[in-house]
Amino acid sequence: MLELKQEENTLTVFLSGELDHHHAKEIREEVDFAVREQRPPTVVLDFRRVTFMDSSGIGLIMGRSHLMEEYGGTLEIHNPSPQIRKVLRISGTDRLAVIRNQTNGKDVPHAYH
């Protein structure tokens, strides 16, 4: 379901498949285990392989954002699909985490339309 990559100050979590209520709990447990153990300054949630996300994914992002705040780390969201961006926009998640599209390396907080 997920793959972790640790490099320098960043822990990248490659999520995959459908991020709904059914799958969120398992992902949350795995991510939190790694984050609590390593306390990386930056955690990246990479959505390139996520085919669907509903508000369960927002809950997951909000929870990880709070976890990062506990020790002053930063949360980033990379490569969300247009459907996922739309859910992020509605939830105002762009205020909790930096959203980037890695294909051009630029921040795309307003690239929802």
Binding site: D54, M62, I90
Partner: protein, 150 residues
């Protein structure tokens, strides 16, 4: 309103059926030749409604049933009705407030109804405490060839 086509289905309120439920509704809606975005909106809205029934309506119950009716109405409108016989919602306006959740400890964002409202054209919620909840949503799918399309 005249129903052109209809699908009815019911299934146990288990989280592994969330994916099946939203996929089924979208498979039915596909006969209207909607855009990728319209179908994604419908998929997300249905997922929210079904998840609410599983997480909230049937909390602590393992024998709940969720019933879905999908109708194709004139003017390319998809109508979806999702019904549970769970605990019901005492205060619907409160439940529909963005970011309100009765289960924040489980990392429910409190955005289910907000997503349903934003991703469909019309949402209605009827509920009786102790009897259950019915959510109905309507969404117009505009064909690729529709010149009035945005």
């Amino acid at each position: 309103m005249h129903t052109i086509n209809e699908l009815k289905c019911s299934f146990p309120a288990r989280s592994q059926n969330e994916s099946f439920a939203r996929t089924m509704v979208c498979a039915f809606a596909a006969q209207l030749d909607p855009t990728v975005e319209e179908l994604a909106d419908l998929r997300t809205a249905v997922s929210e409604a079904v998840t609410n029934s599983i997480v909230h309506a049937y909390r602590g119950m393992d024998d709940g049933i969720i019933a879905i009716t999908v109708r194709l109405l004139p003017d390319s409108v998809i109508y979806v009705r999702i019904t549970d016989k769970g605990c019901g919602i005492a205060d619907i306006p409160k439940a529909m407030q963005p970011l309100y959740s009765s289960a924040p400890a489980e990392e429910r964002a409190g955005l289910g109804f907000t997503v349903m409202e934003s991703f469909t054209d019309k949402l209605s919620v009827r509920s009786t405490v102790g009897k259950g909840t019915t959510v109905t949503m309507r969404k117009r799918m505009r064909h690729e060839s529709d010149p009035a399309r945005d």
